[in-house]
Symmetry: C2
């Protein structure tokens, strides 16, 4: 037996995108051409360390491009979303939409404080 409706889609969610910290990063990147590391750090509340490691995973997965350069004499890391990243995000969004259709609306029983 298989799961009814589109609920089974939930098992196919892309874990690289599904992780909250990375989903946040991707969503921010989707709204800009290029974003600095430090901006993302402030925006997300992630520590530099965690941001760095999530960034590397997204880069390895090909969802994000990382460009390292210098601003004056200081290092500057900028991130941008790739075409594959946009596709992955769109696919994730779509699967999520189907999953949400199957989740029950809050009822009177669940609404009480």
């Amino acid at each position: 037996m298989k799961t009814p409706g589109h609920l089974g889609e939930v098992m196919a969610l892309d874990r690289l995108v599904h992780e909250p910290a990375r989903l946040l990063i991707l969503a921010v990147l989707a709204g800009a051409k290029q974003v600095e590391f430090g901006f993302l750090e402030n925006m997300s509340g992630l520590s530099k360390g965690n941001l760095s490691s999530h960034m590397s995973k997204l880069e390895t997965g090909g969802l994000v491009a990382v460009k390292k350069s210098f601003r004056g004499k200081r290092p500057l890391t900028e991130l941008s979303i790739t075409a594959a990243g946009r596709r992955a995000l769109a696919a994730y969004r779509q699967q999520l939409a189907m999953v949400m259709q199957e989740l029950p609306e809050p009822t009177a029983a669940t609404k009480r404080k």
Copy 2:
């Protein structure tokens, strides 16, 4: 600086619910009073082992109640969602809805095959 809109909500998602396998379990349980272990196993495609461990986590978290008995001479494990489980699922659903508002709609650039 904080993240704009409701995007920051993504970092507050309940990890116990966010895990796909458990979300699937909760969604199924939300649609029935009581469900047998074996039914859930078939429905989800999870191995008994994985199902057992996710079940334990949900039980420990108080989102699910587990009732062990016998059917004839064989063990029978039945799961049901608790009130806390329904609330957690509803809260998750709601946060997810806010996150999805912020995710970009697929555009022409991402739509091509």
